[in-house]
């Protein structure tokens, strides 16, 4: 590094600097060197012929983003006109930043003078002079200030750091800033995103500069990533052309379907009630919403909307493919018949097991001594229900195969629909368990509330509804007498009721677990962003978490050369950022509140459908 500033530009820009080229790298020069300037240079222009550097100067980060190289011969007026056009179209401040010379053999004296003269035509502060020798592949760059500096003593030349970047990858990638802290607004984070986001934005917004290639007969010859030929794909163009009328057709079909869905016929009771309970209807509604979004005729405004549309489309396609596979498996080999034949004996077996369980409860379960009368009443009550259920199943048995066959056809709508139907079938087949649970829970709940109220009476207290607290109260003697009597009765009947409640709650929880697992699978298929994950796998530079640098050249006397590469987003962040909204809401109970509800006998609804009122 020179130990004194150069007051004027040198005649030959490729000569190594005078003075000592080696210096102990551990100590700084005796006075503070100039400001650090960062020059972002595209790798595609490294082999281009000599010319002018065109790009954007970002003063806050003291960095120059080079976008293209303008080759000789050119007319300065036309260059300025082109830059003004680009500036107007892209709203990016594109200017001439400096000169670029690529020496084939010996450096030419005349070229050096010519390049110096250009700095008078295209004034820019600071003026960059990048140079590369083909033989030795050595780079050199200088940045000079022509204006007299405000404070004397500051050098008119800056140190420059060369950072190479792949223009195509930076153009196509979307930068994902790190997760926003909860107490910040999203707007703040993007505003303070930093210097590298400015580089990405500059390249992405200057697409209009890269429209032409070197085969175009324009007034100015540019070199950039597309100068060898504009990228394009026939399939993509055909798809874009065909998507317009296709979207229109499908959007009108979907609007017909949703209009039929909101017809007055579906409002007749009890259809809305059944519709809200069945998860199949919920899933179908969700899919309809998603398809309407995908095939809407408005263009996507932002990249995240585009990703969401693509993710939804791929997810629906995958769903339908898996559903068709399931359909072909079900309908081959007469599996439907086998399933229907197996269903009735299974239901019979379950009912038989329940009967055994009730007989066991009516005896002396686990050695506990039950209250005989209450036991018999409850046991016989539940046995009668099971008998009703068995007769109902036997009534339905001739039609089961037909029903299953037609229900199996619905798998062509998607695997998620088939799984929702399975979950609903499980719910319907175990409806008697649900009824038993409700009976047991209500009885137990009544008992617990009665006990707590009478316990307060026993101690001479009362629940004040107005003040929502326990107050003391003076009771009459006959009130106390009846209260204590009832309390004793309830206490002694508690074990029986509690045992029935426990048994049926466990059965209900088992059924709920099975249904919950099926719903989890459905949610997974619904919300997995397959397109984003595929993009991350095949084109990792499209989804960028940040950048990474690699030091390329570090000879003393030469500028520091770094390579900037895209750091792709990790898979977990891709799945988290782009996950699709799923239809079911997650259970809102924590484990503590669940245990509390179970203890007090309140009914638990493990999942709530959207818009359902509390029972």
């Amino acid at each position: 590094m020179p130990s004194r500033p150069c007051p004027r530009p040198r005649p030959r820009c490729s000569q190594p600097r005078g003075g000592s080229t080696s210096q102990p790298a551990l100590s700084f020069p005796s006075r503070a060197p100039g400001m650090m300037l960062k020059a972002f240079f595209p790798t595609c222009c490294a082999s281009a012929d000599s010319g002018l550097l065109v790009g954007r100067w970002v003063p806050e980060q003291s960095s120059a983003v080079v976008l293209a190289v303008v080759h000789f011969p050119f007319i300065p007026i036309q260059v300025k006109r082109l830059l003004a056009q680009v500036q107007q179209a892209s709203r990016v401040g594109v200017t001439v930043l400096g000169t670029w010379c690529h020496h084939q053999q010996e450096p030419e004296e005349g070229l050096g003078h010519f390049l110096e003269g250009l700095s008078a035509i295209f004034t820019h502060e600071p003026w960059l002079q990048l140079c590369r020798e083909k033989a030795s592949r050595a780079w050199s760059c200088r940045a000079t200030h022509h204006q007299v500096p405000a404070t004397p003593g500051t050098p008119s030349e800056d140190q420059v750091m060369l950072i190479f970047y792949d223009q195509r990858k930076v153009l196509l990638s979307w930068l994902h800033p790190p997760a926003v802290l909860p107490d910040q607004q999203a707007g703040d984070a993007t505003a303070s995103a930093g210097g590298l986001a400015a580089v990405f934005d500059t390249v992405a917004q200057s697409e209009v500069l890269f429209c032409g290639d070197r085969y175009d007969e324009g007034p100015v010859r540019l070199s950039h990533w597309q100068s060898e030929g504009v990228e394009g794909s026939i399939l993509v163009e055909l798809a874009k052309w065909a998507s317009g009328p296709l979207c229109l057709l499908l959007a009108s079909l979907l609007s017909l379907v949703s209009a039929a869905g909101t017809c007055w016929l579906w409002r007749l009771w009890p259809l809305p009630f059944i519709g809200s309970k069945l998860s199949t209807c919920e899933q179908l509604r969700h899919r309809l919403e998603q398809l309407t979004l995908v095939f809407s005729t408005e263009k996507a405004q932002s990249p995240s909307e585009l990703m969401r549309k693509a993710n939804t489309l791929i997810s629906v396609l995958m769903d339908v493919i898996l559903g068709l596979l399931l359909l072909s498996w079900l309908h081959g080999n007469n599996r439907i018949g086998q399933l229907a034949d197996a269903l009735v004996p299974v239901a019979d077996r379950v009912a038989e097991e329940l009967q055994h369980l009730l007989q066991w409860l009516m005896g002396a379960p686990a050695g506990l001594k039950m209250n005989r009368a209450l036991d018999q009443v409850l046991g016989r009550f539940f046995l009668y229900h099971i008998h009703l259920w068995i007769s109902y199943i036997h009534l339905m048995s001739p039609f089961i195969e037909r029903i299953l066959w037609h229900v199996g056809l619905s798998a062509c709508l998607g695997l998620t629909v088939a799984l929702s139907i399975l979950s609903d079938i499980v719910a319907l087949l175990t409806f008697h368990i649900y009824c038993f649970y409700v009976y047991g829970a209500r009885l137990y709940c009544l008992k617990i509330y009665g006990l707590s109220s009478l316990w307060r009476l026993f101690r001479g207290k009362k629940w004040n509804v107005l003040r929502q607290r326990v107050d003391s109260c003076s009771y009459d003697l006959d009130q106390l007498f009846i209260g204590t009597l009832l309390f004793t009765i309830l206490v002694f009947l508690l074990p029986t009721t509690a045992l029935y409640y426990l048994v049926f709650t466990l059965l209900r929880l088992l059924v709920v677990t099975v249904q919950g697992l099926i719903h989890l699978l459905v949610d997974l298929i619904n919300s997995l962003p397959l397109y984003s994950l595929g993009l991350r796998l095949c084109r990792p530079y499209r989804l960028a978490a940040g950048v990474k640098f690699r030091v390329l050249e570090h000879k003393a006397g030469r500028p520091l050369c770094l390579l900037m590469q895209i750091n792709p987003l990790p898979y977990s962040r891709v799945a988290h950022t782009y996950r699709l909204p799923s239809c079911g809401c997650p259970p809102k109970h924590s484990w503590g509140s669940l245990c509390r509800k179970l203890f007090f006998g309140e009914l638990i609804y493990p999942w709530r459908q959207r818009g359902e009122k509390q029972d």
């Binding site: 790298a25 003291s62 703040d188 984070a189 940040g546 030091v551 520091l560």
Partner: protein, 188 residues
Amino acid sequence: MEDEKSFTDLCGGRLALQRRYYSPYCREFCLSCPRLSLRSLTAVTCAVWLVAYGLFSLFENSMILSAAIFITLLGLLGYLHFVKIDQETLLIIGSLGIQMTSYYASGKESTTFIEMGKVKDIVINEAIYMQKVIYYLCILLKDPVEPHRISQVVPVFQSAKPRLDCLIEVYRSCQEILAHQKATPTSP
């Protein structure tokens, strides 16, 4: 310019610190962790196979042995790819930023880059872990809303865990660059 020195880590293993000075404002520090020892690998494999043979003699099912093979292979691959870090690098480039890279035993690289505008300072922090007092180097990040507050503390060399003497070397070098960075104002 490159030089290499040898230090010890918190557990007593040997660490090699490689320092590369690319330019007065660009330096790189590479810490190489101790490699996977053959002894521990043999011990784990023998333990898994003893258990597998024990279960096989109990149940007479050859699936147990195949499962043991799978578990050993997958476990080793997973350990090499996700857990075992061979080398950790800190690259500090004045006026650009700080980059931390971890190189896993399977060749995977994991990089984080922090821009210089977000860096408030690099400090050595003291922490009490069970009965030990340990020192670690960390980068303090500025809060974008309030520049005087610290929003995040990012520890460096988390799996190499060097001792204080190694940390002081790295700290001194980094402070030279940061001080220079703070001395020159950004361009108008």
